[in-house]
């Protein structure tokens, strides 16, 4: 064994902290060898993705750890879960599926996880601090925590997340260490008008492009406006972590480890400089859409990652501008969010407006991991680069990517229509 262990690590490995800690530490030590890490280190927050997908093996793993007496040793939040915990019957989720899903969630809650049930944990509860060493899973949360908050996590996958939460330890490797957070590629926004950058659709399209060119490298974007919102950066990161394995990006003058270009590259030079043109965004939209304009629409899905209060507000304003029109009878309009955001909505007067228009607000889960959409759904429209990227494979549907406003208009008309072309700013 090459990795250096602390006394406590060794005792965990021997089983002195219980069988669950032993299993968790054993997986971590084997992963340390994969990483080539020389030692282990502490983490002080964890976020669990392993609860999100319901699979026979995933359920068995969670229940095994819980039965072995697993308890988290650091504050640990839960990612979205395989169903809407309180309203699954309303969404006609099969009972057999629901029973297993609830068992999986219960196993994690019994181990001490906080049932936040969201893929946007950075917008609600236990937001990591700058420089905090954390073990987060869920690709969009990882890229947000690293890039926008300046916390430090590797791309943890399902099941190592709970191992880190139980032991409070991870291999010291990768993005936990400052030198490895240095920018590698420079992306210059060349001929993109400021007005384009005000359009929300710009961010997922740029993110898709970013993931395509960066792969698993650390890109530095020059030219993003300082007033880019958390929601816009969330959309950018989620798309980049779908089309690529991006776990960290820097945006000069926007993100906390990139006050200057020099800081982003830690005074080194970029391996490569890439110009981003309007045409690249146009191409990104084409690549992200498999459904033709005019195609008959079955569903609109927003909230991937989970919608924030501000996004609901924005949606409500777009709906208000439609002068009383509502969703076409052939279309389902689903917005995914979490219980925390929903409780804020309950304090506003937005819920009546949204549901009156025809919006179905689904909590805690995701259309990829929960059978909310029926098999009859063939064409889906979304403003999410991540959703657009995965929908054809995961759901077997055709997908159209468009701005939030275009999603609303299409839902009213019952077919895919695009009036906004984000890359021209019109």
């Amino acid at each position: 064994m090459s990795v250096m262990l602390s006394e406590k690590d060794r005792r965990m490995l021997k089983g002195e902290y219980g069988k669950a800690a032993k299993l968790a530490m054993s997986i971590l030590v084997r992963m340390a060898e994969v990483y080539g890490a020389e030692e282990m280190m502490d983490v002080t927050l964890a976020h669990i993705d392993g609860v999100g997908l319901l699979s026979e093996a995933g359920l068995e793993f969670a229940e095994t750890l819980a039965t072995l007496g697993g308890r988290v040793s650091i504050p640990t939040t839960l990612n979205m879960v395989p169903l809407d915990v309180q309203q699954w019957e309303k969404w006609r989720i099969p009972e057999d599926y629901a029973r297993k899903a609830l068992r999986q969630i219960k196993a994690y809650i019994n181990m001490g996880c906080i049932p936040t049930c969201t893929c946007a944990p950075y917008q609600g509860y236990l937001t990591p601090r700058f420089g905090q060493q954390i073990a987060w899973a869920e690709s969009n949360a990882i890229v947000f925590a690293n890039s926008v908050l300046g916390a430090r996590t590797n791309r943890y996958g399902d099941y190592i997340d709970i191992c880190a939460a139980i032991t409070g330890r991870v291999p010291q490797y990768g993005l936990h260490l400052k030198p490895n957070r240095k920018g590698q590629l420079l992306l210059r926004l060349v001929d993109i008008e400021p007005a384009v950058m005000m359009n929300d659709a710009f961010y997922p399209l740029l993110g898709y492009f970013l993931g395509r060119v960066a792969g698993d490298k650390i890109p530095v974007i020059e030219g993003l406006p300082a007033q880019a919102t958390d929601d816009q950066l969330k959309a950018l990161g989620a798309a980049a972590a779908s089309s690529g394995a991006v776990a960290l990006f820097h945006a000069v003058g926007v993100t906390p480890e990139a006050n200057t270009l020099e800081e982003a590259f830690q005074n080194d030079t970029p391996e490569q400089v890439i110009s981003v043109h309007s045409a690249d965004l146009a191409a990104a939209q084409t690549e992200l859409s498999t459904a033709e304009a005019g195609a008959q629409l079955d569903a609109v899905v927003l909230g991937c990652p989970h919608f924030s209060f501000a996004e609901f507000q924005q949606l409500a304003w777009i709906i208000q501008a439609q002068e009383g029109q509502s969703v076409h009878p052939g279309v389902r309009f689903i917005v995914l969010t979490n219980q925390l955001t929903y409780s804020l909505l309950q304090r506003s007067d937005l819920i009546d407006l949204l549901t009156g228009f025809g919006v179905q607000i689904v909590l805690d889960t995701c259309v990829f991991h929960c059978p909310i959409l029926s098999l009859e759904v063939k064409v889906v429209m979304t403003n999410s680069g991540k959703h657009a990227y995965y929908a054809p494979g995961e759901l077997g549907v055709q997908v159209a990517f468009g701005s939030m406003a275009d999603c609303v208009r299409s839902a009213i008309e019952g077919n895919v229509c695009r009036r906004e072309t984000p890359w021209t700013g019109l």
Binding site: I27, V34, A57, G157
Partner: protein
């Protein structure tokens, strides 16, 4: 003629099977069905191919952190590849294979090879993998 290449075992084990080769990274979540072993990323160059029992040769994983869950489930479901050969160490894939070993005592070896050796493996070649990372490439009889 057979050729021997020496790879680095990320997860050591013995395996053999026919090579399924792709030059494109793949995220297993959204990219592979654990129920059928089929590549379901419709944008992927090998969309529709089935990895079950094959030595799946592709550069690296990508994207979602749920990939480890898909690999674990495919081991439980019996649809997993016999082994995986990558160009770069993908920790999320390694994790899925390690948890499968801890939980089910089944090993899907993962070997990382150089670009030159990666390019030497052709679709349909028969590969024999040893625990030390040695890969024997028996070229498919062509023509």
């Amino acid at each position: 003629m057979d050729r021997i290449v020496i790879g680095k075992p990320v997860l050591a084990g013995s395996a053999e099977g026919v090579a399924l080769v792709s030059k494109e990274p793949l995220s297993l979540w959204g990219g592979l069905s654990a129920q059928t072993g089929e590549i379901i990323d419709r944008r992927h160059e090998r969309s529709g191919a089935v990895v079950t029992g094959k030595v799946f040769v592709f550069p690296q994983g990508r994207g979602s952190s749920t990939a480890s869950a898909i690999l674990l489930e495919s081991v439980k479901a019996g649809t997993a590849p016999a082994a995986i050969i990558n160009l770069k160490v993908d920790p999320i894939l390694a994790l899925g294979a390690i948890v499968a070993d801890e939980l089910y005592h089944k090993i899907v070896p993962i070997i990382v090879v150089s670009k030159e050796d990666f390019d030497a493996i052709q679709e349909g070649d028969y590969l024999e993998i040893a625990p030390d990372g040695t890969i024997k490439i028996c070229a498919q009889q062509r023509g």
